[in-house]
Symmetry: C2
Subunit: 330 residues, 2 copies
């Protein structure tokens, strides 16, 4: 069933059918009704490929993320997908993993499908890294980056000020007389770098010495983190509080502390469902996906409508207090 069939059955030309389908005002009420009747009777759905070929768009946005099995990215994708749909777009999902070559390859695949724009979620880019693929993509379609920063023509970034958030946490802990703060992180994505430098900045601002032995890179696995922190504890490394770049890492640390029979404030990051599932429940930094994602989508729709939008937007984080840490937050 195509536009010719509909035209024939309703005794008009395909141009008129097209006008009816697209809600053109230049159709008489009588004709419109006549055509609509046939369309509905035949359950006619226009061919999206043919429309795409003409309009050079199928209203599909590519979403590139490292790993949707990760709760943080899953939440971001969930929000983004819903918002896109509400704006009449579909989401083409592409999970890349952490390998740069894969990211490049998949970005090309996405562009080959002629998506209207690309949204990057939590990619592992930082300054001084090879961003040629992003630069190239941005020449073809708008590139929206959620929680990442690449300043190039055609890129638009919405980020959370995670650096300040971490620095503030250091200050809060310091106010409770903690001087030796263990910092756990996994990968140095843009976000990972921000947090780490927030830790260093926070320590410095508080006049605390930075002990490199307390800055520990760990794999993203509860058991593995637990093991690593336990061995730190056993080897007598001294710390009285823990911060982590991810809830998962914080939970590994908590488990180690529990097993070692030690108690200490622990602060996670992402305010994920994990922070509610552990016992005691985990105090965690909320990086405001609920705000970032809508901001990103409204940027995107603005761009596609030809409006002028800012290229960069930064939102501050908030600390969600649970069992593992309390303060008056002032």
């Amino acid at each position: 069933m195509n536009i010719y069939d509909i035209a024939q059955r309703s005794g008009v030309s395909i141009a008129t059918v097209s006008r009816v389908m697209n809600g053109s005002p230049n159709v008489s009420a009588a004709t419109r009704e006549k055509v609509m009747a046939v369309i509905e009777q035949e359950d006619y759905i226009p061919n999206a490929f043919a429309r795409g070929l003409n309009l050079n768009s199928m209203k599909i946005i590519g979403i590139l993320c490292t790993d949707i099995a990760d709760t943080f990215y899953a939440k971001a994708v969930s929000l983004v997908e819903g918002l896109l749909r509400r704006n009449g777009f579909d989401a083409l999902l592409c999970c890349t993993g952490n390998d740069l070559e894969d990211k490049k390859k998949y970005l090309e695949l996405l562009l080959a499908k002629r998506v209207d724009a690309v949204i990057l979620i939590g990619s592992a880019f930082k300054e001084n890294v090879d961003n040629s693929h992003i630069e190239n993509a941005a020449k073809q379609v708008p590139v929206i980056i959620i929680n990442g920063l690449v300043e190039l023509p055609g890129t638009y970034c919405v980020t959370c000020d995670e650096q300040s958030a971490v620095a503030q946490n250091v200050a809060l802990l310091n106010r409770q007389k903690h001087r030796d703060i263990l910092y756990l992180y996994d990968i140095l994505t843009y976000s990972g770098c921000s947090k780490l430098s927030g830790y260093r900045a926070g320590m410095k601002q508080c006049g605390l010495p930075i002990n490199e032995n307390l800055i520990v890179q760990v794999p993203k696995s509860v058991d593995e983190v637990k093991r690593r922190v336990l061995s730190l504890l056993e080897s007598g490394v001294s710390f009285s509080a823990v911060m982590a770049s991810e809830d998962l890492l914080a939970i590994g640390a908590m488990k180690a502390l529990q097993e070692f029979g030690r108690s200490a404030p622990v602060i996670g990051f992402n305010n994920s469902i994990l922070s509610e599932c552990c016992s005691p429940s985990l105090t965690s930094v909320d990086n405001m996906l609920d705000t970032l994602c809508p901001a990103a989508i409204s940027m995107l729709t603005g761009i596609l409508e030809g409006k002028s939008v800012p290229q960069k937007m930064v939102i501050s984080a908030t600390l969600v207090q649970r069992d593992t840490f309390h303060t008056d937050l002032q």
Copy 2:
């Protein structure tokens, strides 16, 4: 840059360029080389819409799931997306929520984009429910259902035998002299129904009486479940073990037990990352997504290649023992 440009610059016809692009053997080595040189020099990428219009396919598979922020669905989508990509397909993601009307609407949207097939993940269908939209979709493209069951022409189901898994758990608990087993569930999807009937069947097989007060529907929220179970405990409802249809619910129950100062075996479902994050870690049924998803995709590729494939596949679950329950599993 289109196929005409490439043809002109390499001094051949568009037919030949098309042959080169599609790896046809009917091209002389010399011509192929000449054309390839131009293609690479110009970074030519064929227009996917035009190809789609001709081939009636853009090699895109629609994925319909209720909520990708849920760790279980997120894992399923993650696996499926990766497998699809490895088979040369892209994934169009569509999260529906639990409303049937939305499911219908979104399924239509997916079909309107002319996807090559649809994969349903964890939809809330059971027998005696309105499956007309699925029936209709299956008339147009293959419909693969992961962890759901709809037996109609054009539908292909890959499920985990969750009913037996739950029944076996009841038997295991009973062997440890537990007779009063609290069962928590949230929504009665196909999967939810299977598990619940597994509970009933298991109790029956063990000759245990079924106390309807021990079958409790709860919302999917740790705090809410905790509150509900606490009030059960306080009201003196008697049970010595807990099973849940979801890790999240099991964790809520664990927290209630901890707060009430009671200890009891708890068994969750899905073997999600949550089960490793709670303390004590949660014993959980693994419903074998790592097996289900590859099976589903190989079914799909088989169908699209015109092979004959079974319409139904059932895989047994396994119990992953952690802190909250141990047995010899025999």
